[in-house]
C-alpha cells in the first residue's frame, strides 16, 4: 500500500503532459446537499476568447458552479468536459491549466507579496520563478511594496496580488468569484482591462457576479442563474440591466 501511494504520487507529479483545451462544456450538471438542490441540470458552453458572466443573486449557485469547474467540488450528477476530457480523465495536469480567484483571495497574510508569489510559483513547479514573480508584481503595481507583509495591504492591493497569483501559471480557464466587490472604480477598470487582454489571448474567463452595472462593461455573454437553475443565456450586451434586473431582483426579494 505504501508502494502504491508513492507510485501514484510520483506518477501524478512527474512533469505533467501539457494538457490543454479550447472550450469547457458543462453537461447536465447537478449538485445537491441532501434535500437542497444547489445546482439543477446546468448545461453551458464556454469557448476560448470569451468572457462569460454568471449572473444571479446570492444563493443562486454561482459559487458552487465555479467550485465544480475548479475541480474542488464533485458534481452529484452530470459532468464537465475540458475539451474532450473530464476532470477525472485529465488528472492533476488539469489543475495546471486552471486559475481561481475567490472571495477569500488565498493569500498568506504573514508572508510578503513577493514570498506569496514565489511560493505559488514554486508549488506549481514553474520554470523561471524570479522572472514570473517580478512580472506579476509589476502587473499588480506592487513592486515597491513587494517585501511588505500582505496583512498590511488594502483590499484592492490584495485583490491585484491575488489575481497575479491566479495568473502565474498562465491558466487556460480563469474563474473569478465576485472579483469587483470592494474595488474602487479605478481598480475595477484596471481589472476589466486585464481580463479583456487575457481573453484576447485565448483564455476562457468566467466571472460570477451579482452586480449588473459592472457586468455590462466587461462581459461578452451572460448566463443567468436563479435557485440553482439556468434561466437564460444571452449574447446581447445592451439592455442587460433592463432585461434581467427583474429576474435577478425578483429572486433576491423571495
Amino acid at each position: 500500500m505504501l508502494a502504491r501511494a508513492a507510485e501514484s504520487a510520483s506518477a501524478t507529479w512527474a512533469r505533467p503532459v501539457t494538457f490543454d483545451f479550447d472550450r469547457v462544456d458543462v453537461c447536465d450538471l447537478s449538485r445537491h446537499y441532501g434535500r437542497r438542490r444547489a445546482l439543477s441540470r446546468i448545461t453551458l458552453t464556454c469557448p476560448a476568447g470569451e468572457i462569460l458572466g454568471l449572473l444571479g443573486p446570492n444563493g443562486a449557485g454561482k459559487s458552487t458552479l465555479l467550485a465544480i469547474l475548479a475541480t474542488l467540488l464533485a458534481p452529484s450528477s452530470g459532468e464537465v468536459r475540458y475539451g474532450t476530457r473530464t476532470a477525472a480523465e485529465a488528472g492533476p495536469a488539469l489543475r495546471a491549466r486552471l486559475g481561481l480567484l475567490a472571495h477569500d483571495l488565498h493569500l498568506y497574510p504573514e508572508l510578503t507579496a513577493r514570498e506569496n508569489l514565489r511560493f505559488f510559483a514554486r508549488l506549481h513547479g514553474l520554470p523561471g520563478v524570479d522572472a514570473r514573480v517580478g512580472a506579476g508584481l509589476e502587473n499588480a503595481a506592487l513592486t515597491d511594496r513587494a517585501d511588505e507583509a500582505v496583512s498590511g495591504f488594502s483590499r484592492g492591493m490584495r485583490q491585484r496580488l491575488a489575481l497575479e497569483r491566479a495568473l502565474l501559471h498562465e491558466p487556460r480557464l480563469l474563474l473569478l468569484d465576485e472579483p469587483f466587490t470592494g474595488l474602487d472604480d479605478q481598480s475595477a477598470l484596471a481589472l476589466v482591462a486585464r481580463l479583456r487582454g487575457l481573453s484576447a489571448r485565448g483564455a476562457i474567463v468566467v466571472v460570477a457576479t451579482h452586480d449588473l452595472d459592472v457586468a455590462e462593461g466587461v462581459l461578452d455573454r451572460v448566463a443567468v442563474l436563479r435557485d440553482g437553475r439556468l434561466i437564460a443565456v444571452d449574447d446581447a450586451r445592451e439592455g442587460l440591466r433592463k432585461r434581467y434586473r427583474t429576474q435577478v431582483a425578483a429572486a433576491s426579494r423571495t
Partner: protein
C-alpha cells in the same frame, strides 16, 4: 516532485510561524499549564504517584498536539489557502506530508520544553537512557500527528470541527498513548527496563507505518467534497 512540494510547504509553514510565533508560544504555554494542573492533581504529600511523570508527559503531548493541529488548520481555513494548495497540480499526498512535517517540527519544539519540565517537577531520570526516550517520543509523536493531520485536514470544512477533532482523534490514538506511557514509565524506573521500552518502540513504529500509509491513501478522496 513529491518531496519538493512537501518541502515547500514545510518551509512556508515555518516562515509563517517564525513571523508570528503564535503557535509555538501558545502551544508551549498550554503544555506547561497542562503539566502543572496534572501535577497538582496527582501529587500527594510532595511525592508524585508512581508513573505519574510518564503519564503526564504524554497527556500534555496529546492535548498540546490537538491544540496545535486545530490552530494550524484553522489558519489555513481562514484564508482559504488550503483550497489554493489543492488547486495546484501537486499530488495531494505531498500536501499531507508537508503539513505533517510542519506539525512534527512544532511538536518537537513543544516537547523540547516539556521533557525538561517533567524531569524537573517529577524528578524523572530523563537522561538515564536518552536515545530510547528520544525514539519513543519520535515514534509516538509521528503516530499521533499522522492521524491528527489527516483528521484536522478533513474537518476543515465540517461543522463543529473544534470539538470533533478530539472526539475523533483520541480513540484512534489510544494505542499511541498506552505505548508511549508504558515505554516511558519503563525507562523512568530506577532500573530502566530497556527490553520493555524497545518492545513499545517497535509497536509504535508499526503503528506509524500503518497509519501514515492509510492517511496517504485516504487523503485525496477526503479532500474533494
Amino acid at each position: 516532485m513529491f518531496l519538493r512540494v512537501a518541502w515547500l510547504i514545510v518551509q512556508k509553514d515555518l516562515t509563517v510561524e517564525v513571523r508570528s510565533r503564535e503557535l509555538i508560544y501558545t502551544t508551549a504555554f498550554f503544555a506547561v499549564s497542562c503539566v502543572l494542573v496534572f501535577a497538582f492533581a496527582l501529587v500527594r504529600e510532595g511525592r508524585p504517584l508512581e508513573d505519574a511523570a510518564a503519564g503526564i508527559l504524554w497527556i500534555a503531548i496529546a492535548f498540546a498536539g490537538t491544540l496545535a493541529l486545530g490552530r494550524t488548520f484553522e489558519r489555513e481555513r481562514h484564508t482559504e489557502t488550503l483550497r489554493a494548495l489543492l488547486l495546484a497540480p501537486a499530488s495531494r499526498p505531498a500536501i499531507y506530508v508537508g503539513k505533517l512535517a510542519g506539525i512534527l517540527l512544532l511538536m518537537a519544539a513543544v516537547e523540547a520544553v516539556l521533557v525538561p519540565l517533567v524531569a524537573l517537577f517529577f524528578d524523572a531520570p530523563v537522561l538515564a537512557r536518552p536515545m530510547y526516550l528520544l525514539a519513543l517520543l519520535v515514534s509516538g509523536t509521528v503516530g499521533f500527528a499522522a492521524v491528527g493531520t489527516l483528521f484536522a485536514a478533513m474537518l476543515v470544512r465540517a461543522r463543529s470541527r473544534d470539538v470533533l477533532l478530539p472526539v475523533l482523534l483520541y480513540p484512534i490514538t489510544i494505542p499511541v498513548i498506552i505505548a508511549g506511557v508504558r515505554g516511558t514509565a519503563a525507562l523512568f524506573q530506577p532500573e530502566p527496563d530497556v527490553e520493555m521500552a524497545r518492545m513499545w518502540i517497535a509497536i509504535l513504529g508499526f503503528f506509524d507505518v500503518v497509519f501514515v500509509t492509510l492517511s496517504l491513501w485516504t487523503f485525496e478522496p477526503l479532500m474533494t467534497e
